[in-house]
Structure formats: structure tokens, C-alpha cells
Amino acid sequence: MRYGMVIDLKRCVGCNACTVICKAENGTPPGILWARVLKLESGDYPARRVSLPVLCMHCQDPPCQKACPTGATVKRPDGIVYVDTAKCVGCRYCMMTCPFQARYFNDAVRGYFPGQGLTPYEVLKYQDHPAGVVTKCHFCKHRVDQGLQPACVANCMAKARYFGDLDDSNSEVSQIIRTRRGYQLHADLGTDPSVYYLPP
């Protein structure tokens, strides 16, 4: 079993719904973007604008986990990589060693309305975001463990994201990767990401 995601760059319209729904689902503090969408232009004039949604790639050989001196970065048997915030010391070495820039340091408890205290929603969600530790996407493991899809997949209005078992050669994600030339970012670094992209 190895959970993985496929993102179809032809379908993605760059609406940032994934960015927003990730925040709503996981209650990440200000400035922390577990999912984000990069914009770039390619080719000569008239340049084509393309959106590149990025998140933690849940690498099968994660350099962040090897670099972590405390064992706070954990890889589950199903391939999901997450941070155990009770063990993290906030050294940020994982942020330096993650080639996908997927990690954020939560240096202090901060609300979205400075000077007005935390909202009840923030009080609830920030139980999962203690200050002084590093955080990152965990493929919505609380949803996946209930048989649901990650929030960014379930809520992508363009249906540009697929989620499933990469080890199962008959799964939808495996078939799409095979038939549509799916590729990984920075494949040459040897981290074997579990997020694949379909060319635009």
C-alpha cells in the first residue's frame, strides 16, 4: 500500500481552491501554506500561463526524515510522511533538506485577526499547530484513515487531482500515470515522490 496523488496540469485552472480548502480543513496558521499554487509563464510570446499546484510529495525516500535528529518526522507503512509535533524541537533542518519546500515553521501562536485574540475555530484547530515546531501536509491522514480523499482532492472543482494506491497497478492513479506520461518533480534527486504530474 502506498498512497499517492496525481495532478493534471491540463485541467488545473489555478483557482487556488485547494490552497483555501486545505486551510479550512487543517486550520493552518497565517503564512503557512501546506498546499499552494505556483504560477509561471512558459515559452516565448505569446507566453502560456500555467499553474503548478504543490504540496508535500510524501517521498518514499524522504530526506527530511533522514535529516530529522529527533525522529519527529515519521513515514507510515502506507507512505504518508507526517510530523509528530510532540517530538519536534524546531531545529528546521528538515526545511533545509526538503527539496520541495513543503515545510513551514510555526514560530508563535498567531491568529488571523491581529489584536483581537483567537476565534473559536482557531482555538480548536490550533490544538494541532503548537508553536515552535515544523508543520507540513499529511495527505489529510485523518480523512484518509476514514476512507475519504484528502480535502484538496475532494474539493478540486476542475477534478484535476486523483488519489489512490500507487502500489496497485490497477488503481486509477497507476493507470493514469502509465497512460498519460505522469512524471515526478525533481525525479533526479532520488527521493521518489508520491505526487505525480500530468503534462499540461
Binding site: R36, K39, L52, A67, C68, F105, Y183, Q184, A187
Partner: protein, 308 residues
């Protein structure tokens, strides 16, 4: 006024060269200080061993244990869990480095407790402790280079040259620390061998730095961008003023003059201090100039066939 984290969102959504921030800005400066103190302390220990000078040994050890230890702890987000960083030496360079600090501190304290005898006067136990502490100091000088070099996503750091650069930087800082102590201490050792050693180490540092910048700028586009940040971008003031002018040219020029004409002791104190400033800025500049490989770069080179 915007809360600080919002200021960075623009950088995070940029599809090109995103700078690393956490090890160079705000509390990240404490880590630079920690690396700096451990480097000059370890270098100072080696020079003090060479000179058989107990005062230098004590101050060098204190620089590593007290100054570097305090800066390391203050940098951590959760210092109360700091013991945990010792747990994973099998894979983590941070664990290996911190274990090295512990090893150095224990062997160094024991050596001092035996009276810090010179090699010729020491028994087998003293010689063993002297050797172990020297190994510990060398480890402290190089491990930071391995810590940085493990970051595959930051090509400016991902090079085998960094351990060598940090080794020479620490030696240079150590010689400056001992020279400074020798000037201010009532009964310091003879300054002349130190001045010569310091001059040579500074020349080696300059040559290695130039080679490092040249080699990395030839390696890939992100590393070239880091070199540009140093030579004409975000980090250029620190590089030209801190690393080159104050840290290298001033000590080199003064050191060269000192070879031919005796200088007053206060002048050596000034030169040592400027060398130390240069060392701090060298670590700072290398760290701050680090930019990640652009994620979007791969987008244009999507392979022709599936990767599974």
C-alpha cells in the same frame, strides 16, 4: 501593518528562486551564532594545544560549551526537548554534530582536569585525552559543512567543498580568538608563530572561498543564483563589507605589514577582532545566499515517457 508571516507569502508563491529563510533571518541568526562559536572555539582549542597554552584551552572550551551551546538552545523552537537531538546519529548530521560537541566537551574538560600537560610531558592518559579532544575539535570544524551539504534542494550548499570551507573558516577564527586572548592575557604565548599561522590560514580561506564561488556558479542555475545573491543581490553588503573588507582584506594587509615591521599589540587585537567579524559573516553569507532549486523548472522538461 501586516503581521510578519504575510510578508513571505509572495516569496512562497513565486515559481522561481525561493530563498531559505529559517537559517538566516530573525531567530535563524542564533544558529549562525551557534555555528560561529563552535567553529572558533574548536579552532582555538587546536591552536592552544599547539601552543600548549592552558588559558587559551579554557576559553576555547567555554566558547564551544557556553556560547555555542546557549545559542543552539535559544535557536530551537522547543529547547526543553533538546535532548532529543541526540537520538538519530545513524542518519542525521545534526545529531552527529551535537554528539560531537558532547564528546569534545567531555574529553576537553577531562584533559583540563589532568592539568592540560603538553604532549612531551603527558602520560598515556593525558596523551589519549589530548588526542581525543583534538579529534573532537576537528569534527566540530567540519560537521557544519556536512550539515549544509546534505541539503539536496539547495545546490549552493550541496557540495563536498563546504566541509573544507568550514574547516578553514573555523581554523581562521580559532587563530584570531587565540591571538586576541594572547594580547589581552597577562602572560600570553609568543605572538609571532600565531601571526604567521593566522596569515596563512587567512590566505587559504580566501583562495578556498574564491574556488567555492567559482565552482558552484558553474554547477547549476540555482547555485549561480546564490552566487549572484552574494556578489550583487540580497547578501552583497554582508559579503563585501563583512566577509571581504573587514574579514579578509584588513587582516591580510595588516598581517603582511606585520611580517616586515613589528606592530603594537593593540593592532593585533584589532586585526583578530576584524577576523572574527569576517568569520561570522562568512557563515551568515553562505547560509543566507542559499536558494532552493525552482520547483517549476521541471515543468518544462516533462519526460517523454511515464516514470512508472
Amino acid at each position: 501593518m501586516l503581521d510578519r508571516p504575510f510578508d513571505y507569502i509572495g516569496q512562497d508563491l513565486r515559481s522561481t528562486f525561493r530563498p531559505q529563510r529559517e537559517w538566516a533571518q530573525r531567530r535563524g541568526l542564533l544558529l549562525i551564532a551557534a555555528f560561529f562559536f563552535s567553529g572558533i572555539g574548536a579552532g582555538g582549542w587546536l591552536f592552544s594545544l599547539f601552543l600548549s597554552w592552558p588559558t587559551g584551552l579554557v576559553w576555547s572550551l567555554a566558547t564551544v560549551v557556553v556560547a555555542s551551546g546557549a545559542a543552539h538552545l535559544a535557536f530551537l523552537g522547543r529547547p526543553e526537548r533538546s535532548w532529543r537531538v541526540l537520538l538519530r546519529p545513524q542518519t542525521s548530521w545534526i545529531s552527529r554534530g551535537v554528539l560531537g560537541i558532547v564528546f569534545f566537551a567531555v574529553s576537553g574538560v577531562l584533559y583540563l582536569l589532568t592539568g592540560a600537560p603538553a604532549w612531551a610531558d603527558a602520560g598515556p592518559g593525558g596523551r589519549l585525552l589530548l588526542t581525543l579532544s583534538a579529534f573532537g575539535a576537528v569534527w566540530l570544524l567540519v560537521y557544519k559543512g556536512f550539515v549544509f551539504a546534505y541539503a539536496k534542494g539547495i545546490p549552493f550548499w550541496n557540495t563536498a567543498m563546504l566541509p573544507a570551507l568550514f574547516f578553514v573558516t573555523g581554523l581562521r577564527g580559532g587563530s584570531a580568538l587565540v591571538l586576541l586572548l594572547a594580547v589581552v592575557a597577562p602572560e600570553g604565548p609568543d605572538l609571532y608563530p600565531l601571526e604567521i599561522a593566522k596569515l596563512w590560514v587567512a590566505v587559504s580561506f580566501g583562495a578556498l572561498l574564491a574556488f567555492y564561488l567559482w565552482a558552484t556558479s558553474e554547477s547549476c542555475v540555482a547555485a549561480r543564483r546564490s552566487v549572484r545573491e552574494l556578489l550583487g543581490g540580497r547578501v552583497s553588503v554582508a559579503f563585501y563589507l563583512g566577509v571581504l573588507a573587514v574579514g579578509l582584506l584588513l587582516p591580510l594587509a595588516w598581517g603582511a605589514v606585520g611580517l616586515f615591521r613589528a606592530q603594537p599589540e593593540w593592532a593585533w587585537a584589532v586585526v583578530s577582532f576584524s577576523s572574527l567579524i569576517g568569520d561570522f559573516y562568512a557563515t551568515y553569507a553562505v547560509s543566507k545566499a542559499g536558494v532552493y532549486r525552482p520547483l517549476a523548472g521541471d515543468f518544462r522538461v516533462a519526460p517523454k515517457t511515464s516514470q512508472r
